[in-house]
Amino acid sequence: MSAPETFARTAGGREDHPNREQAVRLNVEQASYAYSASVQSVPTFTLGATSFQAREREIVAILGPNASGKSTLLRLITGTIAPLSGRVELDGEETSRLDVRTRAQRIAVVHQESPIVYPALAGDFVLQGRFPYGRALRFANPEDIEVARNALAQVGAEHLSKRTIGELSGGEKQRVILARALAQQPRLILLDEPTLHLDIGAQVELLERLRQLAQENRYTVVVVTHELGLAAEFADQVVLLQLGRCLRVGPPAAVYQKELLEQVFDAPLDVELGPAGRPRVNLRARRGEDIT
């Protein structure tokens, strides 16, 4: 059985959906959140009502400078926090109401860095993704091992399975962490700043791979990033945040407007339309003239 088939098999009749191109997978509807030190005090950070929808095979980029609310939105989508108002639904179910186990079968999260206290073999690390499917002590069964192998194959990291995580380079480590997420056989994959510690080659490779995986395995992919260029090149939709407000939602060509981006990122930028209809962003050095 080929790798993509193994992944599609557990999708629970997803392929029989009559109208699958139309079905909304992730529905974020007027979701908001506020952090405060105590119940009475003024919130220290607020994420205003945010709405967007994503279908299977789609890549959504959540874009914004630091402290714009990207991580809060990510936590709302994963369901670890419940929205104060509005709703976040995955296939019609509110993510914050799913129990931890079910949630882990449907949503996989890749963080920028996994702290590894004790060295583990990369293969065993990927097997951790099978945890939400196991019973009691979760001894791996042959199917789990098959799924983990396929996951490693899909990220092109089969040869790494017997190496310990500590020995891997940044890009290799990122691939193994992604493979663990694939082993969860999720419907939705969330990535938090996945390109932060990668060189440009590894960044492009990762996003190419994500686009291919989203197609083959019908994932919905949400990437939190501040890499304007990469988001423009790979995202189907962009959600632009600034200081806890959702400014724009739409395809990159619609969101990438010179004045808007310059204001949000507080940097002089040039935006032009590339050959594929995708915008390109270039940083324009100030050369000393308008620094205040």
Partner: protein, 339 residues
Amino acid sequence: MRPLTIKRLLWTCGGLGLLLLASVVLALKLGAVPVSVTDLVLDLGRIAIGRADELPTEYRLIVFDLRLPRILLGILVGAALSVAGASFQALLRNPLADPYVLGVSSGAALGSILALIIAPGFALVTPLGALLGAIATIAGVYFLGRREGQLDSTTLLLAGIILASFFSAIILFLMTTLTGRDLRGMAYWLMGDLSTPVSAGMQWIFIVGLVAGIGAIYSTSADLNLLLTGEREATHLGVNVTRVKLVVYVSASLLTALAVSASGAIGYVGLLVPHAVRLIFGSDYRLLIPASALCGAIAIVLADTLARTVVSPTELPVGAMTAMAGAPLFIYLLRRGLR
């Protein structure tokens, strides 16, 4: 990929079980009165088939009424401390965590002494006081060890070490002012010592508490594997972090409290044994927990045998042996692991 299988788990535990049996026989043999191994094995067989009466009285008294209970207590204490250490290492994601280093042992010791002062004569008072002391200490260390909402491993260890010395000072103060100034007994108890036997009724409480504590921790061992990669990650992989932490903190405190109320604060076992096990068998908690329990038992039985025999006929506290024997082995294992 080399996932843990039930077969490997059983083989490993079986092998370690045999090693434990061998060290028990060795511990029975060695001592001020020497006994031959062949006799011992035959006599153990006689006891097993219920013909203990045939043994010579004096010999039975030394080997089976004095040495054996002490060995059994060592097994319980070693298993409890090692499992508690392995658990704290996972929960705090700190490879240097151990009930002794974190001050939990001293907290339990202080708790049991305070309980003895407040309500003497009540049978369960020592282990209960020790349990309260252990839980209060681990809660204290946990909150002192937080910086800006994050567990900071250096602050955490410092908090534990400082609480430990603070509690030891209070214990010394209480014991000198309140009791008959038995300085030698006191020092032994602070260092950890197996020479005081546990009363017959308490033995069952110890065994039940130990089995329940280790069992509860073992039931979460797959979760602990994921908890090691961080609480946020574990949640996203389907671990109910709050429940697992509560179960393991309470059980590990219970194990520490049982060990301390029976034998005082034996140090470094909970640090050394899980490390050694990890370097030999890997860090999968489904194997690490039972293997640590067995190796902890072996370590304490052997350490106590040494403590009884090196300066015979005088005896050393076993805690001194674990500290002396443990440190060089620890350094060796650490260096080997780094390469």
